[in-house]
Structure formats: structure tokens, C-alpha cells
Subunit: 453 residues, 3 copies
């Protein structure tokens, strides 16, 4: 038993943290529960504890089950390095590499297959089996103030999925980093690293959640807010999902603030809202290789999408050439099914090879209002260029090279705003020249951006 509420997994007498840190942490949680009894004597509470993982490799063979409030699990290093690049380095070059794996305070997720979590399933969360950390507690109050800070959760390997892709490039392995399946309050995920997980962070029924300053990359999906929730924030993260998954996904949330994130490729979407209301996607830097970067779907309404920088260009790294999310260029870089949203002051750069446009010969769409009414689209600036797509075996150089390539001579014709007949009474101001705005002027108020002459 611990004499206070600070635990170090490397000094805890039960289990071996190198072999199974899950067993170690579960025994610590059992110790906390044994020592801390509910009491209202003298306003005394159950303060919880902190569990510390010094830098090191910690294999996790047993799922951690968190069912107490006020538990903080913290390390000293988010430990990201690109496994994706390494797995695409020829094997005979590996001995020359300085290091082969992520590091820091690193949890190596090596779970046997676990049963699917039922509650998660009923809300269509997708696979929650294989969660390294499962937070689940029924009853009242909702579990509160669990904090994850500054350690690395590494899913180690992806698995062959039947496609032509090498196994390590599939973003599939059935592993989840942190899965919260019960309603929760005031959780924090700060300064973490997540890598090579099919789902990094999947949180159900969140209230006042903060996901801040994390590094979540090379995961199938990065942040998924499932079920329903309110008053949360996803801020100041570096995020990049796989081509099948979500970088940031939320459903049935109100009052969500998504800001100051740098969301890089290759997520199928950068931000996807489903039935989300009165929320903000503001001030993010968003970059994708496919259409459908920001999706407001399922009657997502009264949201503010403002002062974001959208860049859509092409995959420049050879291992993923030819991969996409299945959407064509009419889908819209920003697609809206919902009402009374505000789309204000965004910059869109569409930098693509005209020869790659699908359907062939189509004019790509930047903002598309598909269903709903009363959306306000104002002061958005669309830049579109036809740039020959180059590719390279060197991931970083390929990306930086593509990012820095500009060619103002090669203007590309686009539809800045397309309003479908199912979306009416919208206001479109200064977001495209008159021919760039396809909308029924009798059903929508349009003021085209002035042009010269």
C-alpha cells in the first residue's frame, strides 16, 4: 500500500511494468480504492491519485480499467517519432537508423483481442475492443477529472486488411488508445502522444472535456467524441489521421470549441460534425489530400466556421500515392448539411493537378451547402491553382516541397460556393465572383465578390 497518493509504476511492488503495465496500473487503482472510502466526515473526499510513468518502454498486455475519479496518469515525454516513415524504409537500412520506435514514457499496446464494449456499440462507436485504457463507471456522479498527461501510447503495428497496401500502411489494428464509454465530466488529455492506433481517443458523453496540446498522428482516427456531449474543447493539438479515419469527429455535441489545431493529412476528413450544434471550428490550420475536409452533417446547425486556413492538395509521398477517401471534387472542401451555420473569413487553397479532377472535366467545388437553410457564408477567400503534382520517397521533403510550391500563373477554375436546391434562404457574401457562386438567386441572397473592371 502506498503511504500517499503518488505512485510510480517502476517502484510499485505488484507486477512488472516492463512486461505488463496494465496489470501494474490496475493493482494501483485497486490500492487507491481500498484506501479511499466515501466519507462526508469533515468534508473529506476521495482525492484520487497520480500514477507516474518515467520515460521507458512499458508493454501493456492487460487493459487498464479506470472507474475512479481524480486519477491522473502522467509521464515525462510524448515520445512521437514517425513509425510510418520507418516502416517504409527498406529493412536493410534499419540498422543505420538512430532509433526504430517511439519513445518517452511509452506504453506499447499489446493486448489480446478483447470483447467489444457494449455501450460503445450501441452508440455506433466502432471497435472499442483493444482499448489500452478503458474508462467506465455507471451510477452517479459521472466519473470526473481523469487526466492523461505527457506519455505515449503506441499501437506498434498495423495489420494487413486485404487491400494491396503493406500491412503497416493500413491504419487498421483494432487498437484504441483511450476509450471512455461512460458519461464523464471535466476530463483532460494534455501533452500526450498517440501513434499507430486504429482509434487514438474515443470519448462518449463528455461534458467540459479538454483535449489540449497533444500530438496525435499516424492513427486511423485521432479524436472521436461519440454519443452526445457539451461545453468541451479541442485546442492546440497537432493531429493527423489515416486516410480511412477522422482527425476530429464529433456527434450530437453542443458548445464544442475546436480551435488552434494544426490538422495535417491524411485523414478522410479534418473535422467531421454529425448532429453538432452551436459549436465553433475557428482559427485552425487544416490540410488534407482529399475533398471533404470539413463536413457539417446530420443537421449540424448554428455552428461557426471562421478564420480557418484550408489547404487541399495532393499526396506527395510515394507509399500512399493513389489512395484517397473516395470523394470526388464536387463534394466540396467544406460540405454543409444543416441550418443557420456561419462560414466567415476562411482562406481556402485548392492546389491540385487539373488532370486529377474527378469527375473528369468537372469544376471543383470549395464550399457546398447541401441541405438546410439560413446559412451565412461571408468573406471567404478561395485560391485555386493547377500545379503539377510531384511525389517523392522522402516524406518530409515531399511535403515541404509541395507546401512551398506556388505558381500564380496557373489559375484553376473552381466553384467557390455551390448551393444545392435542398438548401435555401442562405446568404452568400463576398465569397466568390458571380460565376463562382452557383446558387438560385431567388432562394438565396448572394453578393458576389467584386472583380476588376
Amino acid at each position: 500500500m502506498s503511504s500517499n497518493n503518488y505512485y510510480d509504476v517502476t517502484t510499485w511492488p505488484i507486477g512488472n511494468p516492463s512486461e505488463d503495465v496494465g496489470e501494474v496500473i490496475n493493482s494501483i487503482i485497486a490500492d487507491i480504492k481500498e484506501r479511499q472510502h466515501a466519507s462526508d466526515v469533515n468534508d473529506g473526499g476521495k482525492p484520487g491519485a497520480v500514477i507516474y510513468l518515467p520515460p521507458g518502454d512499458y508493454r501493456l498486455r492487460t487493459q487498464v480499467l479506470i472507474d475512479i475519479s481524480f486519477l491522473r496518469i502522467q509521464g515525462s515525454g510524448h515520445g512521437f517519432t514517425s513509425s510510418s516513415i520507418r516502416f517504409n524504409v527498406p529493412h536493410d537500412e534499419w540498422p543505420e537508423l538512430h532509433e526504430l520506435w517511439p519513445g518517452g514514457s511509452r506504453v506499447l499496446v499489446d493486448l489480446p483481442e478483447l470483447p467489444v464494449d457494449e455501450e460503445a456499440e450501441t452508440s455506433k462507436a466502432g471497435p472499442s475492443k483493444g482499448a489500452a485504457f478503458l474508462v467506465k463507471r455507471e451510477g452517479s456522479p459521472r466519473i470526473s477529472s481523469v487526466e492523461f498527461a505527457n506519455f505515449c501510447i503506441d499501437g506498434l503495428h498495423f495489420a494487413a486488411d486485404g487491400s494491396d497496401l503493406p500491412a503497416e500502411n493500413t491504419y487498421v489494428n483494432g487498437k484504441t488508445g483511450i476509450h471512455v464509454s461512460s458519461a464523464n465530466d471535466s476530463f483532460r488529455v494534455n501533452e500526450m502522444g498517440f501513434i499507430y492506433l486504429e482509434h487514438a481517443l474515443s470519448i462518449h458523453n463528455a461534458d467540459a472535456l479538454s483535449i489540449h496540446n497533444n500530438f496525435i498522428a499516424e492513427c486511423g482516427s485521432c479524436i472521436e467524441l461519440r454519443g452526445w456531449g457539451q461545453a468541451s474543447k479541442i485546442t492546440d493539438n497537432l493531429i493527423g489521421a489515416g486516410f480511412k479515419g477522422h482527425s476530429i469527429y464529433a456527434e450530437n455535441h453542443g458548445g464544442l470549441l475546436v480551435t488552434a489545431n494544426n490538422v495535417f493529412p491524411r485523414g478522410a476528413s479534418s473535422v467531421h460534425f454529425n448532429g453538432v450544434t452551436r459549436s465553433s471550428v475557428t482559427n485552425n490550420r487544416l490540410h488534407s489530400f482529399y475533398p471533404g475536409m470539413v463536413v457539417l452533417d446530420g443537421n449540424s446547425s448554428e455552428n461557426l466556421v471562421a478564420t480557418n486556413h484550408f489547404l487541399r492538395d495532393h499526396e506527395p509521398w510515394t507509399p500512399f500515392l493513389g489512395i484517397d477517401n473516395g470523394l470526388d471534387d464536387l463534394h466540396g472542401v467544406l460540405s454543409v448539411r444543416g441550418s443557420n451555420n456561419s462560414v466567415i473569413g476562411n482562406h481556402f487553397s485548392q492546389i491540385i493537378d487539373a488532370g486529377s479532377i474527378r469527375p473528369v472535366g468537372a469544376t471543383p467545388v470549395i464550399i457546398r451547402l447541401r441541405e438546410g437553410a439560413g446559412n451565412f457564408v461571408s468573406n471567404n477567400h478561395v485560391v485555386a491553382m493547377d500545379v503539377h503534382a510531384a511525389a517523392s520517397d522522402d516524406c518530409f521533403e515531399a511535403q515541404v516541397g509541395a507546401l512551398l510550391t506556388t505558381d500564380t500563373a496557373a489559375a484553376l477554375a473552381v466553384t467557390a460556393v455551390m448551393v444545392d436546391p435542398e438548401s435555401t434562404r442562405n446568404t452568400v457574401l463576398d465569397s466568390g465572383s458571380d460565376p463562382q457562386v452557383l446558387a438560385d438567386r431567388a432562394a438565396n441572397a448572394v453578393r458576389a465578390t467584386p472583380t476588376v473592371g
Copy 2:
């Protein structure tokens, strides 16, 4: 005496941190002062120290007085859980609750009544008696780089105030979490939790202050910047004050940056500036149950209020039904007494029951320019709906339910912008249709948002 500058309150030989952590911390500060003498030999300084509070309950019966720079007080857990919900659960259900109190590294504020701080009084700070942590030092230089990080300050109980409200719902108890009464530089408050305090954080005369990523809720007032100050930031916090108090208040500040905060109800205001200049309120998510959400008062001028999401709807939780801040619907969701402010690219959702409008029959006002000149109001989107207000005994479900309710059929007439005769030479662009902008067109430049047809 400590051999270095790291202190743990649970191992310090003087006092009992469970019984009075205030006495313990004060004796640690005395030790630091005894060991660290001013010296310029070899550029040697007085480095200060860190005082660590592991997770645990620490009653504070003696006020902590901080009068040295470079002191960091840190815990391992912000420890929030809703005391408000718990106190409104019938007492016979308490034994079924998993926990009754906040947790983490938790300071239980249990001070006897203290004399009112004089300096605070002269600048009208309200009650500073009862501050758990008082920072006060005269002379030069200003006290610098005090840091508070990742612990919980819990005021425990509110008190009957003569109203009909149950004592625990009054937001009154004369307790302050941190009160800084002297001019200060480069302070930080990060990752803290504050709960059930009449004043969470009251800071006078701040320079380059950072209040970042805290959880400040169920307090009478949350953040109050008093006196005067400059170049500070309030960023990325979750904040919600009581119905009588301020969520974020600042007076006589210049260059203040308020951004990326998620400010939820039920503060009398979300952001209140008094005599504040050249500051920013940008990119926040703001939610309130009353008018007067953002107030620029006392000749607050040259401020930027941009790309915020404002939601004003109704209290849905039964214990607080019927409570408001006393302002009627003509007050304005955003109210401006000042000049040359910029109000750009904000989204306003006004989702209220038309039957609740006061004065009866009035048209609610969203943006109101009351006094001043030269304000620039552009590209704001106002959504207003008449929605029957539902209420529930379950706080979270009530709030989420209300948040997710949309009904585009039930449009509500509002005045998007009202310009009083005392405010002139303003520019109002694309922020409401012609009839929605009440302004003397001879004294103000108005371009109405285009409408269909």
C-alpha cells in the same frame, strides 16, 4: 530546512498538511526566505522554489501569504466534480454516490473571517477577506513569476444569503481562491481547478499574466482583473460563474487577449470589460442564460470582438429556474459603451421562449451600441428562434438537450444591431437586414445584409 528548493507538503516537518496546509506552506515560504538572501555575487539570484501537493485533501485554516517571486505551487490534479449537482441531489441519495467532493490535489478552504484587504478595497475589488492564497508585496521590483499549477481550490459550501435559494445555491461565502493585491509581473495560473468560491481568481495590477487551461466553475466570479494592467492573456479555459458574478472581468487593462475560452453559464456576464482598451475577445465560445453576455463598458475602446460564438438561451435546470441577472432583452447580448471597437465575424444564437421576453412584447436586441463613436460592426450573423423552454432535474441532460434543440421553423424577430443616439459615426455592415438594424442612418454608416428577392 530543505537541502534544495523542492518541497512536498506531506513531508515537511512543520505543521500538518491535512489539518492546515496554510500553516505548512507559510513555514515553507519562511524557510525559503531564510535560505535565499539577496546577492549579486556572481550573478546569483534568489531562485524561489516549488511546493508540491500530491493528490490529497488539505484543509486550509491559515491564509497563505506569498511575498517572494519565483514560487511555484503545484499539484497533480485539478479535481473538479460538480458540487452544485451533488448539493441538489436529495440527501438520502448521497450514500449511493460514488464520491461527494472534488478531489485531486485539493485545498479545502476553511478560513476564519479575515479582515478586508485595504488595497483591494480601494480599487473596489469586493471582498478579499477569505483569500486562501494572498499575494502581496510592496516595493520594487514587482513580485514576479509566481505560478499556480494543477491543483484544486475548493470553497466547500455556499451560505444562505437571505434569498429564497437554498444556501448551497447562492454562490456566496466570502471566500476567494487566489487574491493578488500587489502589482505583479509574469504570473501564471495553469491547469488549476476552482470550485465553490465566491471569487476564484482576483488579480490586481497585472503585467504579462497568463491564465491558461484552467477549470473554473461553480464559483461566484471566476476571473477578475482589477486595478489596471497590460499585456496579459486569458486563454483556453473552461469557465462558468454564478448568476451574480463575472466569468471574466477586467478593468483598466490594455492589450489583454481573451481567446479560446469555453465560457458556459451561468455568469451574469461572460466577458465584462470596464475601461479596457486595445484588447481582444476573439475566438471564444460563450454561452449564457441572460442578456448582457459581453459588456464593453466605461469607455472601453479600440477592442476587437471577433469570431466568437455567442449562445443565449434559457436556464434548463430546475434548481435555478426563475433566476436571472436582472437585465431585460433590450440590453443587448453584446453591449458597448466605448469607441472605435471592432465587432467582426461573430455568430449569435438567441434561442429563447418568446413568452419570456422582457419587457413584454419587446423585440430583443443582439448588439447594442450605447455610447461612443466610431465602432465597426461587420459580418456578424444573428440566428434567433422561439423555442419552448424545457427544464429538467438532471443538469447535464437538461443542458445537452437544450443545446441540441433546433427548430428552423420558429424564427424569432430580433433587432440585430441597435445604435443609441449617444453612439455616433459607427459603421454597421452585413450584420442584419435593413429592418433589423435600428440606427440613425444620418449619423452612422449602415449597409444591411442583403436579403432574398
Copy 3:
């Protein structure tokens, strides 16, 4: 040798951290390298380590060389206090001062002159000799996940530079805080303090870098991103460089997010981009005493500059009166050489003494488009006033006094937007009245802000 990967410089047996913490840290790094060998057995990695500096004074006489990934160096206190103010206090008043030096976990940079780093030189980084922390490693993969957190790097003194300025006011000493000369991935610099360094933070070839919540002031230059890079963020910092240097500088970066920073004087620029593309400068509070606050240069294109608050006024502190950055008032507060940038929803306050305008009699320029094409300048609000510049010996009072001074009666004529002939096909909307926009209407689309009457 350490038994795990947590090191405390005060308990490490080699060297004396008070006398030379550089030697201590280098010996710790050697220990880590000796203990951690590359291995792919069982997915085992080289986790790196954390090196802890408790609060204290640590002289650094030997440069730290970091060539391993996953190293976190952390302290417990950013330790800023104004050395600039103290050095300008008469020496006979020093005995009355509470403290003379910065504190916290403080590294005193006291290096002998070091040879200039060659790689840095080739990319024109300026002096990298004198870096307290040098990160440099060739080969693959790029060095990853080095983290610096919550300590202070103090350059101690500036040096006479041949000008009339007292030595301690020159911002020159050849010292750099952290210099990263090799390509790197997923680095973090969080909660640090930097002071009295000629270059605080100079990072070459960064990928997914995060510079967050630091205090970087009274340094010649604060943040310099050199070489090339992508997908990084500079967020939520308090920053203020010297009059010769950069507060935030980046070259050849793509996808950089600069947001939520409070950048105060007196940098020669607040944000300077050179050849930067598809990046964001949004939602910052920027304050400078000179023109040229934000500079997009070297064909910086497709960037978004939105919802920032710009304040340009005069130096009010007597020791620096008469100092400037050499630019006249026609330069532009925001100056653009590049194409397809978006400048949306910014507030500009130009509060100067009309008698100080240079060239004499000129009309100051706020936004100047110098070269390029296709920039979109919309919904910016310019406030300009002629205010008699007061100055004071008290730095804080001088600055706050100036900040809070407003006088709506004293309007100053300015050119809100000037478009040079070398910049064409720009769109300028609602960013100045017709006479305030100097642009060839045949080459640029202009819609002036409506005016009264």
C-alpha cells in the same frame, strides 16, 4: 549510472550543477546513450529520459549537445523578472530591490565564445555560437520529441555594441538559448522562460514543432524558424523582442499556425515571414512601437492574417526613447510581398504623435501591398489618432498609461490600404473609406467602406 530514466541534476554524481550544469547534462546524456542501445527485439525502443532541474541557479559554462530523441529537460519555474528594468535602475537603489535576477529553475548562460555552427551559417541563421543548448544530429530518422519545459534560460548581460546605448540595453551578447541545427520532428518548447539572450530560440528545419505557452522577453530575437519546415505551431506565448530583432520570424515554412500570442514591444517586427506559404497569423494581440509590425516578404503567399489586434504607438520608456527600427510611416504596419494572401477582420490602432511622422508630412500607411497578385483584404478596421506621446522613467506605468490613453477627438489621417503598382489583381473590401484606399481601380477590385451621408 541511473537505474531508470529520470535524472535530477542536483543528485547526479558527475560535475557540479551550480558551477556548470552543461557538463552535468552532457554526462547524463552520455549515460543515457550508454544504457540505451538500438534494438528491435520485442519492439523495444530507446525511450530517452527526463532531466529535472529543481528551482535553483545553474551556471552553464559548457554547451549542452543534444543528439538523442525523446529527451525532456524540465524545471519548476519559468523565472522571468525584468532584467531590463533592473539594469536601468540606478545602482545605488539596487540594495533596496527585493531581487536582482530572474529565478525559478534558472540556467545562467556563461559560455566562452564558441565556433559558429556551420550548418546554421549556410542557412543564414546568424550567430549560433554561444547556444546554451545545441540540438544537432545527422542521419535518419530526424531527431524527434525533444522537449523543453518550465525552466529559465538567462543570458545575464548584454554587451556594449558601439552605439550610444548603455551595454545592458543593446540586446547584443552573442548568446542563444536553444539552437536546433538539424532537421527535427515533433519537438516541444512549453512553459519556458527566456531572457537576455541575443537569440532565444532558433530552430532549423522543423516539422510539427510546438512552441506553446512560453515567456520570451527581453531577448534580441525571440522565435526564429530557419531553413524550412512545415506543420508547426507557435501558440499562446508572451513574446517581446529587442528593437533590432524578431519577435516571431519564419522562413520557407508551410502550414505554420501562429495564434493566440500576445506579442508586445519592442521587436523590429512582431511577425516576419520570408517565403512562407499557406500559413496562419490569426487571433494574436500584437503591439509595436514601429511600423513593419507584420511583414510578409519573399513571396510569402496564400497566408491568412485574420482577427489580429494590431497596436502601433510610441515608446514611452525613457531609456529607449529615440530608438526605432529604421522604417518610416509609409512602410505599412502590415506589409505584403506575395500573392493570394488573405487579410481579414483585423483591427489596427495607429496611435502616434503626428509630429513624429516620417517622412515629415506623409500620410502613414496601415496595410501596404507591395508586390504580388490576388491578395484579399477585407473587413479590416483602422483606427488612427494623433496623441501626444508621453514618456516616463517607470516602464510599467509608462506602458499602461499609454495603452489606456484614448482621445476620439484627435483623428489622424491615414492611408488604410496602399497597393503598389507591382501588386495587382487584389481585392480590397470594406477596409477603408474611398480616399483611404490608394489603389489602381483598374488593376484591383476595391469596395470602400461606406461612410455616413
